[in-house]
């Protein structure tokens, strides 16, 4: 599904990623762990096409096609989704209106009939229940006045609405209490199936207690220095990252 080949990325002329190789197959969940500044978020932002993340060399293939020249919206429409580490507050833009516009953009892309307001409410109702969100959130501006946990649940809600094939979870667990992490993990686990790929980026092992990645990678200074099974996460929790640094 996603193949990253020897990816080098610069941000404001500073080399951040220094040769990343990663292959996520359908149905696989990969976790990337690393300290702050190791390049975790640069990787997720580059995959989703954020401006100012310059690919110096290497390639990103999605379903065997290079996506480096694709706009963020085309990557999204093709099925790539990122749950933001810091979800953006958009004052004045009503949450329902925004979600419906996003879902309809996808439906239009797939030649499906767009939802009107009433049908959309039916569509979203059980998704709200899954992430334990009240309909009152829908009436507010996007992420405006949401607590940290509410913002992250709103990200999972969008994941459930947009039904991506590849979900990148960028530090989805950071700043959350255990109850909120359980809700988030539950959302992710329910969404997981044999076709969908996941890239879970995290600083701590906490989230990995509740979800089971197939492969864990350790990112240090822009390079994957070690890959292994779930036990690698536990080892990192115990020993820290020091033993892996050069």
């Amino acid at each position: 599904m996603l193949q990253i080949k020897n990816l080098h990325v610069k941000v404001q002329n500073k080399k951040i990623l220094k040769g990343i190789n990663l292959h996520i197959k359908n149905g696989e969940m990969h976790a990337i762990m690393g300290l702050n500044g190791s390049g975790k978020s640069t990787l997720s932002n580059t995959i989703t096409g954020r401006e100012n993340y310059t690919v110096a060399s290497g390639d990103i293939l999605y379903n065997n096609e290079s996506i480096l020249d694709w706009s963020p919206e085309n990557r999204a429409l093709a099925g790539i989704f990122m749950s933001f580490q810091y979800p953006t507050v958009i004052p004045g833009v009503n949450t329902t209106y925004f979600l419906r516009a996003a879902v309809n953009a996808k439906r239009k892309h797939n030649n499906q009939k767009e939802y009107d307001a009433a049908n959309f409410l039916k569509f979203i109702k059980n998704k709200l229940e899954q992430v334990k969100m009240d309909t009152k959130y829908l009436k507010r501006s996007v992420n405006d006045g949401f607590s940290g946990g509410e913002k992250k649940r709103n990200e999972i809600l969008q994941l459930l609405c947009l039904e991506p094939d590849l979900a990148i979870m960028d530090e989805t667990d950071s700043g959350l209490d255990i109850d909120a992490i359980k809700i988030i993990a539950n959302g992710i686990n329910n969404y997981r199936n044999d076709d969908r790929g996941f890239l879970v980026i995290t600083h701590y092992q906490r989230l990995l207690k509740y979800i089971n990645p197939d492969i864990v990678h350790v990112l240090i200074d822009g390079q994957i220095v070690k890959s292994g099974g779930k036990e690698l996460a536990l080892e990192l929790e115990e020993k820290g990252y020091g033993w892996l640094e050069k």
Partner: protein
């Protein structure tokens, strides 16, 4: 038009054989007062950023070229039933185009009422010119205790290929404990012309007014409007302005809160593109005790257009327990567009609560990326953000149909401008 052109017009058009002695005298006094002031220049603080060079396109002689026929009037409809329409067409009030008066509302076209002693308070060049060249206007009275559910709409409309300078004047007296809605609808669609209008509102004790101004003139117009509102005890005045028309649109607003416990809430949206300029020049004067005022003005400037916000709150010595807030927010959509924002407060007593602020910025790139990462294209994402910028002000309009109408107008403006 320069000062000499106005002198030419005064000499030719304003003669003692047309007007009564009293009216002629008032016009003469007003013009003399104007001559002392002269036309504003960029050296005047409140006109520093206003481009008046467009006045040069107009020549003397076209003043008061009022056409007598109401033929050709094309109503710019608002989807609201039961409006009480008062129509100015090609420079004059047209009774035949206006609505029948409901109970509790009376009007007069008398110049004696339009140019009463209050004219002596006119102190700006353009309102003095209005007093000088005024030919047709109306005074509307809302009876005391009258609660008028049908909105009053004053329409300013001109059509045709001849340039004109028009001087409409509307006086609205909202008497004791009366309540109503006033829509001023500027829909002039003519060759380069200039509407120099005056609206004067007087709010008696415990009265309330919901005032909505919609300025959608064609883009070759100059529209300078001078609004004065005087508020007595416990009166409540709300105004919302929606302006996307005219080459130069300038709203001079002066609110005088004489009465204790009075309150006013001013808000507006200005939308400009091409080389348009829309200015808001606002003075809110607190004189009574326990008065409250708020201002929230937003401009969206695109292409080579520009805007000005000059807002001043004056809190006089006796105006204790004043609560005043002032905010100006601007969204710049193009590198060639510009905005000048100048919020000010003059406070002459220390028993007050005041806040003011101003911000000017571009579209939030983080928010744009967030929306695009959800599959919205760049145009769609920008449109949502721009709409979000003004949504709170439109949402605040209490009249549901006017709110929906203005959302439609805003979306039309947005769609015309953001195809690329």
């Amino acid at each position: 038009m320069n000062v000499n052109d106005y002198k030419t017009d005064f000499g030719n058009k304003i003669t003692s054989n047309i007007y009564t002695d009293k009216i002629f005298d008032i016009k003469k006094q007003s013009f003399e007062k104007f001559l002392v002031l002269g036309l504003p220049t960029n050296r005047w603080e409140s006109w520093r950023h206003t481009n008046l060079s467009r006045l040069n396109n107009l020549k003397p002689g076209i003043i008061n070229s009022i056409k007598t026929s109401s033929e050709g009037y094309n109503e710019n409809k608002i989807p609201i039933k039961n409006l009480i329409d008062f129509v100015f067409y090609n420079g004059a009030y047209r009774k035949e185009l206006s609505s029948k008066l409901p109970k509790g509302v009376s009007i007069s076209e008398s110049l004696d009422l339009l140019l009463d002693d209050d004219h002596l308070y006119e102190d700006t060049p353009f309102s003095l010119l209005n007093s000088t060249f005024l030919k047709s206007g109306i005074t509307i009275n809302i009876d005391k205790n009258m609660v008028l559910y049908r909105p009053i709409r004053v329409v300013y409309n001109s059509t045709g290929n001849e340039s004109e300078i028009i001087y409409p004047r509307v006086i609205l007296n909202v008497n004791k404990s009366a309540s109503c809605t006033l829509i001023e609808h500027h829909t002039n669609n003519v060759s380069p012309s200039f509407q120099n209008g005056v609206t004067r509102i007087s709010m008696d004790k415990n009265s309330s007014l919901n005032h909505i101004k919609i300025q959608k003139n064609s883009h070759n117009m100059i529209d300078i409007s001078s609004l004065t509102v005087k508020q007595e005890t416990e009166s409540s005045y709300n105004v919302f302005q929606y302006c996307d028309g005219s080459a130069l649109g300038r709203n001079n607003i002066h609110i005088i809160m004489n009465g204790n416990g009075s309150n006013c809430h001013l808000s507006g949206i200005s939308l400009t593109k091409n080389i348009q300029q829309i200015d808001n020049n606002i003075i809110v004067e607190h004189k009574g005790k326990h008065t409250t005022s708020s201002q929230v003005f937003k401009s969206i400037v695109d292409e080579k257009s520009s805007g000005v916000f000059n807002g001043k709150v004056i809190i006089q010595e006796g105006a204790i327990k004043t609560d005043a807030a002032q905010s100006n927010k601007n969204l710049i959509l193009s590198k060639n567009a510009g905005m000048n924002s100048n919020p000010q407060m003059e406070i002459y007593n220390d028993d007050v609560k005041c806040a003011h602020g101003s911000s000017t910025g571009e579209l939030d790139q983080e928010a744009l990326f967030y929306m695009r990462s959800r599959g919205l294209d760049l145009i769609g994402a920008k449109s949502l953000l721009i709409r979000g910028f003004v949504a709170d002000l439109i949402d605040n309009i209490s009249h549901e149909k006017i709110k929906n109408y203005l959302y439609e107008e805003f979306d039309n403006w947005l769609n015309e401008n953001h195809k690329t």
